[in-house]
Amino acid sequence: MELNQELLSQIGLLAAAVLTLITLSYAIGDHPLFRLVLYLFIGVAAGYAAAVAVQDIVLPQLVFPILNEVAGTPSLDLVELGVRSLLAVLLFAKLSPRTARLGNPVTAMLAGIGAALAIGGAVQGTLLPQIGAAAGTFDVASFELALQGGYYGEGIRIIFDGVVVLLATVSTLAYFHFGAASRGKQEPLRSIFIDALAWAGSVFIAIALAALFSGVLLAALGALIERLAFLREIALMFMGVP
């Protein structure tokens, strides 16, 4: 029996609308239907990822070349195929606790390469450029141009920006400075200067965390708007309104 494609599409849209309503009903409290939808979403996402990995990676990169080799129509170099197969078998050994040790070299290789790339990338792509940006806090060239052109307000803005960035950087670093000088038999205390900087740093850290939180909130708001717009379209569609 051949199903109507349009009917299938409408059924899919209706199911999506019902699942969306159940998800939004979390506003009145947790309930089993919400959990069911949650598990469904997680299961579908994980299942799809596994299907993609098997269909697009495992089968074409490992299984099919082995079958071709067995059938006498090799599609890969034998050495490369052997290395792939060996690594795959060793990694597969991690499934059992008794043979898990065999997979340690492969896991170590994956973790080591990942860590090396992450650290190298962070240093080269984040740390050094950020240090360079912090070192050039005061745009002296622009400041001189602004003064030469008579744009004193712009010059003050450049200085103000530099002061704010410098204060934020230094005070935030001071917040994480927990060293204290010994005072003999009295308990050690941080210096007043460091304490003041740390307090200012806590203000900047709070602002940064608030920015991150507002970003998450705005992202959720955007998702909510899109879902409500979808529900409106579905409602109009089933009501026959163009």
């Binding site: 269909q55 990169q61 990942g114 990338g121 940006a133 992202a219 409500l228 717009a229």
Partner: protein, 539 residues
Amino acid sequence: MPTQPVQDPEENLPDWLRALRKRQSQEPSEGLGAENAPSDLPAAASEPEPRQEPSWLQEIRARYKKTTGSLPATEGTELGDTQPHRVKAADQAPVEETPAAEETQPPMEEPQAVKETPPAFEEEIPESQDEESGAEETIKPSYTPAFTEDQVPIDPGVLPSWLQALRPGGSYPTEDARSGEMLPGVEETSGPLAGLSDVLPADASIARVEKPPVYSARLEVTENQGLHAAVFIKMLDETEPPPVDEAHRVARPTRVLNLIMATVLFLSVLFPLVTQSQTAGLPDPQLFPEATNVYSLIDGLPAGAPVLVAFEVQPALNGEITPLAIAILGHLLDRQAQLVFISTRPSGPALAERMLQEQFSAVPAVATGAYTQLGYLSGGLAALRSFISDPRGATLSTMSAGADAWQNSSLDPIRGINSFALIVVVSSNAEDARAWIEQGAGVLPNGLVAVTSAQAAPLLRAYLQSDPLTLLGLVSGIQGAALYERLRAQDGGLGRAYWDAYSYGIGAIMLLILLGGLYGRLIRMKPEKPITSGAARGT
């Protein structure tokens, strides 16, 4: 305990044994000298007179006769088995004997050495020994003794060689370790068994209750450790736990507040969507130069320029990023850019394809398939680095279909990552965009632009001001979509359609935060009610 009269074991000796012993007594040197007795025994020691006893033994017998009349049969039997041997051994063993002396035959000592026997040893000699003085010949033992006292030439304080050979390992008590209460025949002096003899002591040391020793629980710390402990205690004291009653009072209206906030938020978002209102003012492009940079870069692309689109979108945030992605991709398609899609997320290629087919199916480039899907790039950072270093050498999921995407003639000019005129990272979180920025640092001289969710923007803004510049432009969220549509002077876009709902929603959120803060203040200012017993139990 039943007692029986003591019987001399000599009484039960058979006639042949009596004759043998009599003959042995007449020939003492033949009886022991050949087997047991030392060869160098002096004649005086080897032939003691039957009635001659050491003076100390006679004193013990005399004292014991005064205190006790007779011994139990068991005691007598036991003594008949053991005590004669002990006495003989004590008589023959030297008082101070060394292991070296045990190995060699000790010289016989003078009889007066017996006087050096410790008093404790004298006291434990039982009374039964004195019976052998007169009645020895009449006692019939139930066993055959190896030798008798009148036959063995015992020299006091000297052990015979055969007895030395029987001694275990050289470690043996030189004197009886038993206390006076444990000696046989001693009456119990306390408890319900008082007056009875031959009982185990009732007040043994294990039954005594003593006060356990008191050990000091005070830690020995140095001054420096004490100072650190004081700082730590001070830090703990400064951390005040929330009062239980306040938490209980605040938790009660939480559900009601949730409903109120959800209703306000839903209405503020739903009303503009239903009414299709477009009254809210659009964002000013002058305030977002990073978005203007993205527009300028795309708008400056020549026709047919290859553009790599990394579609790193999660399904959960696809709805939020869709308006912005549509605006960016629409601009790219209008510029007739040659789009090449790739993703390090399994769901990325499917979501990108779905967006193209739903939103741009009428565009000739999409309708004719004049774009390239490289597919899913598996392997995380390592695969990403490999792709950036050598795009054609990377393993892609589209190769599974048997068709290599790089065989497309439109991609012939692309030999490396720098062959792309622009790299656009469409990402729903900051980590994916940061991975592209970090792995491409130093490799991408032109940098890249990011099209992200609103939650990723705060983290990525730092890269807009890095030195050297690693991120050329940034657009994010619904606001970015509305802004980009305004830059393109585009009407009817999703960004503009959602912008009013977005603006009113932000206003509602701000209002709720403000009112929530005031409500919290009012709650704190309210005088605390006494905690009832039910509230204290949490009921």
